[in-house]
Amino acid sequence: MELAEAKEKIVDALTKKAKTKSKFYFNDLSEILELKPRDAKKLVNKLVEDEVLEYWSSGSTTMYGLKGAGKQAAAEHED
């Protein structure tokens, strides 16, 4: 899969769900991309580097979201 296609799929899917939640597990992303985890990871890494996606971590678990999306950034006064 090309990066552009991956970006479109991810942005579309995550935007659709933006009203209810902004953070997703890695598995959700590989399902959206319909790829095996290892192949999905290469594209997801690139989307992080391109500042489309960003990480969120509970310390023990990591999640992904569209950059800047969600409520907590505002709550932490980090934006």
């Binding site: 209810t20 953070k23 580097e49 509970s58 310390g59 023990s60 969600g70 409520k71 907590q72 709550a75």
Partner: protein
């Protein structure tokens, strides 16, 4: 204070970026005698509490002086450690898995000046900076978690409970009178980021009240689906709440399903659960990780709740002392605490320690519970 740039350019984060280099190579840090004799050690001996000698095939010897340390450590303190290592150990040292500091010298004559130096150093408050000990059949340093110093879900403090316990057991850090070594570990909530579940004695912080729900702010600060998904027992569900004439999206807690883990609070600060009366200490005993004689074992809960008596947790330290003394008195040489309890039977363990057995100590959590009940007529009155 003026901002000092490291050279990092926030507009171009990838510019000159160095990543994925990992830790430094361990060989850079080996003392000379270690580098030379690695893989060729013949045997070791504990010369006295806290002092080890390892003898190599080459005839070389390395003497190690082990000292306790609080794992919470300032740069001032680390620099003092460096000063000692420069003075006595050619600028080398190491830390152990259990937060001890090890100073190594290659000559017997260097031991006494080193120990003298270490023992002479005290904090202004009077405690030792570098107590020598922690070897053999004694009680070594307590590994622990962050507690109130730095964590968002602790049910107690870690550094304080550990300090209080090690003050109580200090002579056993510096002597070796136990039947076998006795490992104590501390984790400040049931999530056990400190993995204390296989310790001879585990000190565990525990909440006993489900989270409160801050309805007015929850929807502003948190995402409801994330908080709900964080609950391991499915005790949370979304709920619309009438508040000040309007309706807000919020969460309902099924309080009887709550296991007090605080995972929801991690995802959502509007679900705080800490509470002065609710929170306290659980004691677990009888775990081990070594495969020596018997297989590794999990620790078992023997005290269901002790309140947080700051700043020194006297009830907790008294209970620990009590368990340690019962074990020291009754166990056979080489027998770990859990092996002793199994040999005499847990009914005798409660008899000999005087600890009260309550219904809280009988497992009722999911599948493994059944295997802990007694399925035999063999028991002691």
């Amino acid at each position: 204070m003026a901002f000092i740039s490291s050279g990092y350019n926030p507009d171009k984060p990838m510019e000159n970026r160095i990543t994925d280099i990992g830790p430094r190579h361990f060989e850079e840090f080996y003392p000379e005698v270690i580098k030379k004799n690695k893989g060729k050690w013949l045997y070791h001996e504990i010369l006295k509490p806290g002092v080890l000698v390892h003898v190599a095939e080459s005839g070389d010897e390395v003497y190690t002086v082990r000292c306790g340390g609080a794992r919470l450590m300032s740069v001032t303190h680390i620099r003092e450690i460096c000063e000692i290592a420069d003075k006595h150990c050619d600028g080398h040292l190491r830390f152990t898995t259990r937060n001890n500091i090890e100073f190594m010298v290659d000559n017997k004559a260097k031991i006494d000046p080193l120990i003298k130096d270490l023992e002479s150093r005290k904090f202004d408050g009077g405690s030792f900076k570098f107590p020598v000990g922690g070897t053999g059949a004694g009680i070594t340093n307590i590994v622990h978690t962050q507690g109130w110093v730095h964590c968002h879900t602790p049910a107690t403090d870690a550094s304080g409970t550990v300090k209080a316990t090690l003050d109580e057991l200090f002579t056993d850090f510096q002597t070796m009178r136990m039947p076998a070594h006795l490992r104590i570990s501390m984790a400040c909530c049931l999530n056990m980021c400190g993995a204390v579940h296989c310790s001879d004695i585990a000190i565990l912080g525990f909440h006993r009240k489900p989270p409160m729900v801050d309805h007015a702010y929850l929807d502003k600060m948190c995402e409801v689906p994330l908080a709900i998904a964080a609950c391991p027992t499915a005790a949370l569900k979304p709920k619309k709440i009438d508040l000040d004439g309007g309706t807000v999206n919020s969460i309902e807690v099924n309080k009887n399903r709550c296991m007090f883990c605080g995972n929801c609070y991690t995802m959502c600060p509007s679900l705080p659960l800490a509470d002065k009366e609710g929170d306290g200490i659980v004691l677990m005993v009888g775990g081990k990780v070594s495969n020596r004689i018997s297989a590794p074992k999990f620790s078992k809960v023997v005290v269901a709740y002790i309140p947080n008596e700051t700043p020194r947790w006297p009830t907790m330290t008294a209970q620990i002392r009590n368990i340690v003394e019962a074990y020291a008195k009754d166990a056979r040489k080489y027998e770990r605490l859990g092996e002793w309890a199994e040999r005499i039977g847990w009914e005798r363990f409660f008899g000999k320690t005087g600890l009260e057995f309550t219904h809280h100590l009988i497992d009722d959590f999911r599948d493994p519970a059944y295997y802990t009940w007694r399925q035999t007529t063999n028991f002691k009155f």
